[in-house]
Structures are given as C-alpha cells and as structure tokens.
Symmetry: C2
Subunit: 454 residues, 2 copies
C-alpha cells in the first residue's frame, strides 16, 4: 500500500507539474503574441508589397520570395521551396468586365466578377433572356425547352440560419462551382451566380468554377448580392428581362512552375514526427487576399517564430507550410502529400488555418484519440476563448495528407464576418484586426504546444 | 419501489420534455433574429436619424421619442417613460478644440477630445511644459516642485496581455477619471490623457472625468494613441517639450429633465417577478454611439420583440429598459432602482448589454444559484457559441438594483474590437456587423427564455 501510494502521489505530482507548465507556456505564448507579435506586420507586407496573388502570376512569385525571406529572417532551422506546377488563369481587363440588367431596353449596370476558370464571352459580350433558378433540380425540371439560348441566374442565397457561415457556404457553393456545367447541359449560353455572402452589399465575390469536358464551356460570373436581388425583382416584374455581360478571360495555362514555401524547427526527442501548421499563399486576383489566406500564412509563420523566440524546444518537429494553389487546383497540397509519402515522412498532426484572421473559437480534430486528449485539456484554453474542441476537422490543403497523418485539424476562428470579405475587392489588410489575428496565432501556438507533448 | 420508480421516470420525462422544448425555443429565437431581426435596422435609425445623444441634449430627447415609438410600434403590453433629471455638459465648438506638441517652438497638431465634464481652457488655450507620468504614485513622487505650473501627460497604456479588453480598460481608466484631480493636487494647470484604446491610430477617445471640489478644476483632454506616442517621443528627445490645448466646454448644467424608456411584456404565472434587459440610450457627443450603447438598446427591444413575434409566453414579466445618463452620472440607473424599491418591485434578474454589438460569448451572473442553474444549461448554447457562463457579473446601470434583484447579469460579447470604437468619432453604424449584433440579441433572448422558466 505504501509503495502504491507513493507511485500514485508521484503520478499526481508529475501531472500537476505538466499542467502548471502548460498553463505557464500558454500564457507565455499569448503574451508574446499580444506584446510583440509579428503576424500583423508580416500581413501588411504581404498585402501591401505584393497584394493579390493568383497561382502562376508574377505576384504569386513575389509572395513566395517574400515569405521565404521572412522565414529565413526568423532563423528557423531550415527553410525551403517545394516546386509544384500550377495552373494559371487570367481574368483579363477589369475595365471591360461589365454586367447589365436590361428591362425593356433600359440597361442598369451591376457589379460582376468572372468566376475563376471561366472562358471569355465573345468580344462584345452576351445579351440574352435570363431565367432564375434556385438549384439544379429546378434547372432540370425546366429542361432544354426553357433553358436553351438563355442565361441562367443561380440565386439561392446562403442560409442565414446556420451559425457557422462555413456551413451556409457549403449549402450554396455548388451553384458557383458547377452551375455553368449544369446549365450548359440544357443549352444555356451563360451563367450568372449570386455572390457567396450573407452580407447585403455591392461586392461581387469570385471563386472557383470547374467545367466538365462533356459539355460546352459557357462563360460564368458572380453578381453582388444587392444586384442579385435587383435582377430577381426585375425578372418578377418582367419575365423578358435580359442580362448582358462581358468577360475577357484568357484560357487557363495548365503548368507554371511555382512553390510551396516551408519552414521548420527540428524536434528534440521525437524529431521524426511532424506537426504541420499551414495556410495557402495564393489568393484570388482581387483585393489583397488578407483574410483568405494571408492571415493563415502569417499565423503559421508566427507559430514557429513563437517557439524560436521563447526558446520552447518542441519534442516533435514543427513545420510551417504555405501551400500554393489552394484556390483553383490544390496542386500545392497534393504535391506536399505526394512527397511526404515518397519520403516516408511521419505526420503526427496537420493544422490548417484558412478561415480568416478573426477571433479564435477552437479546433476541429479528425482523430478520435488526439481529439480526446486535446478536449481533456480544453479547460486550459477556456479563459482565452479558444476552448471549443470538436471531433471532426481538417482543411483543403491538408486533406491529401489524410492517409499519412494521425490528426487533421482545422483551426476555427469566429466565422460571422468571413463571407463579407471572401474573394472580393474588400479582402484587404484593413479588414483584419490586429488583436484578432494575433490571438489566432496564440491559439494555434498553444495547441501546437500541447500536441508537442501529447 | 414501484411508485418511486414511476415518480423518477415521470421526473425524467418531464426534464426531457423541458430540455427538448428549450432546444426548440432557442433555435426558434435564433432563426427569427437571423431571418427577420429588427435590431440592425433599429440601430440604423438611432444612429442616422438621431446620431450621438449626450444626456440632456436635444438629440437625447429625440432618441427617447424614437425608441418609445419603436416599442409602441412592436405592440408590447405597456411602454412608458420614467422621468429622471440628468446633468448636461457641452463640449463647445469642435473647430477650436485643438492640441499641439511644441518642440523647440515647432508646433505639431495632434488629435484631442475634451474629457467629459472638463472645464474650458482660457480663451486662447494653455501652453505649458509637459511632464509624462504613468500613474498616480509617480505623480506623487514628483510632487509639487516638479508638477506645479505644468501640464501632466498620463501615458499608461491599456495592458494588451489581458484577453478581456474590459479588464485592460479597468487597469488604465483611473488616469482619465481622476487624473485631473490628482494632478491639480500638485499644482498642474492642465491634463492630457492617453486615449483608452488598444489600437494604434489617430482617434481620440473621450469619456467621463470627475472633479473633486477640494481641488482646483483644471481642463483635461484625451489624445489619440499614436499622438500620445509622438508626445512621449518628443519629451524623451527634449524635456522642455510643451503642450498646447484649447477647449471651450460649457459648465455643466445640473438638472435637465429626461427619461428612461421602458417597455414590458407581462408574465403569465409569475408576473410579479421581473426580468429586465437593458442598455443605455445616452452616448458621448461624438460619433453615433453605435456600439456604445445603441447596440444594447436595440438588442433589449429585440428580445421583447422576439417573445411577442414568436408568441412565447414568459412566466415572468419581461422589461426592456433604456437607461438615460450612463456615461456621465448614472442618474437613469439610480432613478430606476429608487422607484423599483419604492414600488416594492421584485426583480428576479437584470441583464445589462453594454459591451458592444459584437459576436456573443456568454454571460456573467452575480447570484450563485442562478449561476449554477444557467451553467448547468450552458450546453444548450454550445453550438451557438454563447456558452461561457461565469460567476460574477453585472453592469453600471443595473448596479443600483443590487439589493432588490436576485441576479445581476452582464451580457459578454467578444471584447477584442470594442475599444477601437469606444467614445470616438468612429463609433458609427457602419462599425457594427449585422449578424454579430443579431446573434447578441439571440443570445440574450435565449438566456431570458431559460430564466423565465428557472
């Protein structure tokens, strides 16, 4: 009994010490970010010195160089570029990217943006009668007879009753991604899609759209939510309402050399097990890609900088990965996973931060054991506000790692304002709050600390 | 045993039904706010039709009328005005409210705002050597010899390492509230105080300042955080740096007739027990008082509107109270509590919403029994994100009710951006996000629902 008691007591003390240490380190990490965080100034550089940076563009190249140099400057153990071939799509001149509602020959100019990957319209644009649908079932029920020769207007709004705006997005985004292909099946000659947002404003939101080679490729654009409402009203009032739009996109070039940018701090006792933190370096070709996903990139770098600056020695190896081409191809994520498998790398956890630089709420964790361990320690995060740990999570760029990574983890900041900025001209540095961005880095940093010792 | 079992089973079923009902009602409340919420458009009216509304001003009068009519329009069981005498302080012309750093006769214009309640400077302003201090202890140690005839510059920033920016504010605000009196003790002739904010920008933040009749009343202003840094640098570089400022405030008039605005929905089975939800209708005399506290006012009204629209019959009586004069006197809160005591009203709970229209995080509850009951039901709020229930809480306006109210409750939205706007020109309607404001109303509404049946 005595020995047993001593053992129990020792275990208790050990646990207590670990817990006290965790508490202290989480406080250290958070204080450092709030007092001396570099993520915000790094983001300013990315947004203002580079700006938007679609895959394969000269700006994407410049972003690779800037972030490589940042990581070098922070003195990580190693920093390297991982080559990856990416597609390049070019919007063409924004001056002639124009949309108009035409009701009884009266044209009314509206805000549009070509969807990413769209083909061009003929040089003088397309004018045609427009037919509004809410979903693919409605499209199908109308059939060729009603659709052929027309422009299809997809106008199913994101459902505002979802608390997670990401879920609302998930319920609406097929209109953007597959609308052109679905409409082309029935002979439509163009597509206009309500912007993916819960805001009522005049920003058009672009985003990825994919053709299916079995059907004609027809031009597709997004229209701002306010103008979508106007178009819908016009159609209700006059079912002969026409829509005009002009896009001058260039055909997508398939293969341009680009890079994932990677920095690493070597682990101590479990150096072969990698904890990855990553975001994506490419953005759409409007705004400055501040929330999407400049924020995730600078947070990923900041996490490693925190360990370096605070001289925290991680047992496992930490890696910041800035993926290229998340927006329109995912080539960076796929290439990273391919090479990880080829090199027999062992990933313990991969955390993706690609939901904006907003105030942290928690994490979604794919692996049930890691989830259980972290959920048991969530109380350490409670006073910081990032203690919502859920089972299930991941991200686009880390998805391909699935079979070679114990836990895929999605960082979950508050989602309410994300789709106010997503893929628009107003996703700029000024839309990011310094403390919210920095607390996000602290949240991820503190989870990484726990994962290091898990 | 059998009877006991049946009793247990009945209790279990009853609990289960109550819980299912709570879940359904919380969803109903939240959906209604997100689909048809009126708080945002009410706030637009308050901000754009009235604007800022310091106690005793014609705008405050207009705000009383507007909000009274709103509540009447929503058809609450009763709506009334509760007279209260309030002080009136007038800033005077903003054109001549000017501050300058003068280093070797070179003047550099900076952004200032008279603190609320300040006396005027002489007509041509004050110019004097300026001495920087961090706190009252430093002031005391410098003493009359170093302070007399000078302008004292209080420059202790809010501590960024607090996660709750309210706590950081609490640790710095005595400089603003009592700085002038403390400095006057040692013969200072004026006071300039670093703005109460964690942002680095050029907005000066006003706020309440109180004199002590035992000491001379010297003029006091706030300076923007960036300009506070500039002034500090100037002093470091040249300790003969002077500061100039000119205020043209009018002496405070003590008693102007104004009103608390109150709306009520009568309870069913426990009608004599009141659940109060309130914010304050007055604001400072800059910006539009959108976050502080237009947001709280429109949320309070929205909570009652939700019950009315959804035909939810509260057991206890619900009351929305828009208090007058929170910012510089608290006369509304004091008067309300006085009359409640006089009329032997029984308040079961009073919830104050005065921390901005940001995304909800939870509640602080003063009473340990109510706290325990609500904390036990916090899981119902988890997926909505307002499940952080803490023991301890309240608010300025409900404070005076303390002895006649079972539970004082502070509504706690996310605090990160609050002091970017607090008491500044940029606390305007556009700074409030519709979903964040509406989710706040849903959070309070769902807590009120649980309190109704507690």
């Amino acid at each position: 009994m005595n020995k047993f008691f001593i053992l129990l007591f020792s275990l208790y003390c050990f646990q207590l010490t670990a817990q006290t240490n965790d508490t202290a380190v989480i406080k250290q990490i958070t204080d450092e970010v709030l007092l001396n965080g570099k993520a915000y100034s790094d983001l300013r550089d990315l947004c203002k010195k580079v700006g938007n940076r679609i895959s394969g563009s000269p700006q994407a190249e410049k972003a690779v160089e800037l972030m490589y140099n940042k990581m070098k400057g922070y003195g990580f153990d190693s920093v390297w570029l991982q080559p990856v071939m990416v597609p390049r799509w070019v919007r063409g001149s924004k001056q002639t990217e124009i949309g108009k509602i035409i009701n009884e020959n009266k044209p009314y100019k509206v805000n549009i943006l070509a969807l990413g990957g769209s083909v061009s319209t003929p040089k003088n644009g397309i004018t045609a009668n427009v037919i509004e649908v809410k979903n693919f079932e409605e499209l199908k029920s109308l059939g060729k007879e009603k659709i052929a020769g027309k422009i299809v207007f997809f106008n199913r709004p994101m459902d505002p009753t979802h608390i997670s705006t990401g879920s609302a997005y998930g319920g609406a985004v097929n209109q953007r991604g597959r609308g052109a292909t679905e409409a082309a099946k029935y002979g439509a000659i163009g597509v206009v899609v309500r912007s993916m947002t819960l805001a009522h404003d005049e920003f058009a939101h672009t985003g990825a759209m994919y053709y299916n080679d079995s059907f004609p490729k027809i031009p597709a654009c997004a229209i701002s939510s306010n103008h979508a409402d106007a178009l819908s009203r016009s159609i209700k009032q006059n079912n002969q309402t026409q829509f005009y739009f002009n896009l001058n996109c260039q055909n997508t070039i398939d293969s341009v050399l680009s890079y994932n940018v990677i920095g690493q701090i070597n682990g101590t006792t479990k150096a072969k097990e990698i904890i990855l933190v990553g975001g994506h370096l490419d953005s759409w070709d409007v705004g400055e890609g501040a929330h999407d996903d400049g924020a995730g990139c600078v947070q990923s770098i900041e996490v490693l900088r925190l360990f370096k600056t605070l001289n925290l020695k991680p047992q496992r190896t930490l890696r910041a990965v800035l993926f290229m081409n998340e927006e329109n191809g995912l080539r960076g994520g796929i290439k990273y996973a391919e090479l990880a498998a080829l090199n027999k790398e062992n990933h313990y956890a991969a955390i993706e931060t690609d939901a904006g630089g907003f105030v942290p709420r928690g994490f979604g964790i794919s692996d049930s054991t890691v989830y259980k361990n972290m959920a048991a320690k969530a109380y350490l995060f409670r006073n910081y506000g990032w203690d919502k740990i859920d089972l299930g999570g991941g991200g686009a760029d880390i998805g391909p790692l699935k079979n070679n990574c114990k836990a895929l983890i999605g960082y979950v900041p508050d989602s309410q304002r994300y789709f106010d900025y997503h893929h628009t001209e107003n996703d700029v540095f000024e839309a990011v709050n310094e403390r919210e961005l920095h607390l996000g880095a602290a949240a991820i940093g503190s989870l990484v600390w726990l994962l290091c010792n898990d």
